[in-house]
């Protein structure tokens, strides 16, 4: 590679890493970023505990948007809620609108924003000791562990309370099915465990200039994707055919592989909790496809690539494709940090020729604990934050691109801002998304499953041996 490319890449990698540390979050991952793919954003910096009250000036959103709801917004006037959150684009996108909630309800909002790992520790301590400091907190892959421990409060009683909820105004059917499903413990709970606030879905990114140069068509199938990767890998110097997450962690390599195993007809836990399904033909085929793709046409050391490495490699123009990653990469790839911003295309994730399109999706949600003293106020905040007016404002006026509401993705003004193709690909992918079902011990067996996959990508063992071992470990964890 040239010196200029090297310098540029190092610069982009540094920017990516810093961006990741600042704003990208998702658990169970690596040292150089625990994130999934939510690039950019204006993540709040540093630890902070601050109240939103006291801001002056006009409200961001007219109160009439909410006062039309048959909800007694002011029944808790004079109280206060504490929100525990990670440094995340959602926080920076919604914060300017929080005075609207405070004006609407008379409830003060206090933010407790922490780096992700510190937040996880504090959250677990808060709920398990019964401290109840947080009335609302960010919730992720540990939702079913928290639920089964009795730490999370189901929201159904609040949805049933006519003074707190107006279905006609809230329009729950506007929420993506995948988001609602994940808010119900990923299929493990009949009750609402929280309200989804952000969603991301897997898509593929490709270099339009290289596609034109080599007369390639956008891949719809995994076979076409591999062929395209091979063509670019073999005909371009200093550009690898593809790049994808190889690093272990439940937000890393298996976040990608889980899409493909579903598309090959397999599923996680074919018989919960006795048969993990990880040693079925579909999983092994998916793992073989993914590992061989990265080994043959990926960068050297693909097994250690984190999401930020993937993003940086693509930003620098050093890869032909990204294998199915989060749509939230889009701003980072097409923005000013990218060396190839004009030449990035987005398309739906590929699937096997005889398989089913089933991209992975991930939602952050906000929940309340059984020990929280202001859960009803917290529920009002959750409704307000995930409502259509608030979501529309965040996405039209404050740079967000992670809405759990279909209406936002269909909004012409929003589509004009983010690009019609990006919005349409994301919308269609989200409508058919199938998130991971995070069972109670997912963090533990997911970590081991990801370690085995990393071994396979590194060439330490075959994909079949790795997945067979992953199945043994997962089942052993539940039998133990």
């Amino acid at each position: 590679m040239t010196e200029r490319n090297r310098r540029n890449f190092i610069k982009a990698t540094g920017v990516g890493l810093l961006g990741g540390l600042a704003g990208c979050t998702r658990g169970g991952s690596s040292g150089s970023g625990g994130g999934d793919g939510s690039s950019g954003g204006n993540g709040s910096s540093g630890d902070s505990t601050e109240s939103s009250s006291g801001s002056d000036g006009d409200l961001a959103i007219p109160l009439e948007e909410y006062q039309s709801a048959d909800i007694d917004w002011r029944q808790f006037e004079g109280s206060q809620i504490n929100i525990g959150a990670v440094q995340h684009p959602w926080v920076s996108a919604i914060k300017p609108a929080v005075p609207v909630f405070e004006e609407l309800t008379g409830i003060d909002v206090v933010w407790n924003i922490l780096p992700e790992q510190q937040f996880r520790t504090k959250r677990q301590t808060d709920v398990s000791t019964g401290a109840g400091q947080f009335d609302i907190f960010y919730m992720d892959q540990v939702v079913n562990q928290f639920r089964e421990e009795g730490w999370i409060q189901p929201l159904d009683p609040y949805f049933d309370d006519s003074s707190l909820y107006d279905e006609e105004w809230y329009q729950p059917d506007d929420l993506f099915e995948a988001s609602k499903w994940q808010a119900h413990g990923g299929g493990y709970s009949d009750s609402w465990t929280g309200i989804p606030i952000t969603v991301e879905v897997q898509t593929q990114f490709y270099r339009t200039d290289l596609y034109e140069k080599h007369d390639l068509e956008v891949a719809e199938t995994l076979e076409q994707f591999r062929q395209n990767a091979q063509t670019i890998h073999e005909n371009e110097s200093d550009v690898v055919g593809t790049v994808g997450r190889g690093q272990k962690g439940y937000g890393m390599n298996i976040y990608i592989l889980n899409t493909f195993l579903r598309e090959y007809g397999a599923e996680l836990w074919t018989e919960f909790p006795n048969d993990s399904g990880l040693d079925t033909d579909g999983v092994i085929e998916a793992a073989e496809w993914y590992t061989s793709l990265l080994q043959d046409y990926g960068p050297e050391g693909a097994s250690t690539q984190t999401w930020s490495d993937v993003l940086a490699t693509m930003q620098e123009g050093r890869a032909g494709h990204i294998v199915a990653d989060a749509n939230l990469f889009w701003p980072g790839l097409t923005g000013e940090d990218s060396q190839v911003g004009e030449d990035i295309g987005i398309a739906k994730a590929p699937r096997p020729a005889d398989g089913t399109f089933s991209p992975n999706a991930f939602n952050w949600q906000i929940s309340t604990s059984k020990n929280a003293s202001n859960s009803e106020q917290a529920f009002l905040f959750m409704l307000w934050a995930s409502s259509e007016p608030t979501n529309t404002w965040m996405h039209l006026d404050n740079g967000a691109a992670f809405s759990v509401r279909q209406s936002v993705w269909e909004n012409d003004e929003f589509r004009s801002r983010v690009g019609d193709n990006f919005a349409q690909v994301t919308l269609e992918s989200l409508q058919e998304a199938a998130p991971d079902p995070f069972d109670r011990k997912y963090p533990e067996w997911g970590q081991r499953y990801s370690e085995e996959l990393q071994r396979a990508i590194a060439g330490q063992k075959s994909a079949e041996a790795a997945m067979t071992r992953a199945a043994e470990v997962a089942e052993d964890i539940y039998s133990g």
């Binding site: 990698t13 150089s32 050391g301 250690t304 970590q447």
Partner: protein
Amino acid sequence: MSTPTQTESANRTTLARLRDLWNDYLPYWFMAPMVLVMVMITFFPGAYDLYLSLIAEPTFNVFEAEFVGLSNFETAFTRGGAFHSFVITITVVVSALALETALGFVLAALVAGVDSGRMKGFYRVLFIIPMAVAPVSLATIGRIMLNSEIGVIPYVIETATPFAAPAFLSDVPLLTVILLDTWNWTPFMFIIFYAGLSSVPDTLVEASRVDGAPLWRRYVHVIIPYMKPVVFVATLIRLIDLFRTFGVVYGLTNGGPGTATQLVSINIYEQMFINNQLGVAAAIAIVYLVLVVALCNIIIAKVGFEGVWD
């Protein structure tokens, strides 16, 4: 009802008893604050860790937890990967310690042999710089510099030699970790050894020179024996510190690929904060604590007092 005189007498008796109590146990009162501090910072965490290793998980309601005996220890060594991580840790500790000791001594000897005072200062600063790099920065810089596609180190290897550079973090991760730690911590050994060399009396060195001993003999028979306490203390401190290695390796490889660089410290972290296996993490920590303390005590007892300070 007691009279004022009786009350006064009783008070005097109480004061006298307190004074006696103070005088009789004077040495213990002086030690009490230290004992209290030790209990708070050493024995309580250790005892609490032991308690956590014996209860069911996952839970933080520890006082209502179910007692499970040695079950967490069994889990730690079956599916918890404890044995593997102990092997990895020992490999890293022994290799890095040997390299850092040897390199640190060689560098110290070379700088000590430089005649120019200005150049000596220059080399001292130059060799100390790596130690000033924070672990998270080192890991981040390491990931970039070692990256097979854009890293400067593979680039230099491939430009300067006819060999293809390995994918450091996936093909030779353990070696990479050891070398990076060596780069980071050799300066520590260098500083101590340099100070030790400076303390060797010139008369001894001069006498051996007059006797006609070549340079290597002067080091083997005069300088190194004189420096034995310095070498011992430096290696012991570094040994203990190596057992605590975490940040650089976690940031660099995340303990992988797979578990190829999963040190005990990383394993404990993952069990605790990723798997939420509090008891298993505590069990591994207990075993680790016992092993490290035992090893250090054996070294101090056998090598320290008999070989160095006798």
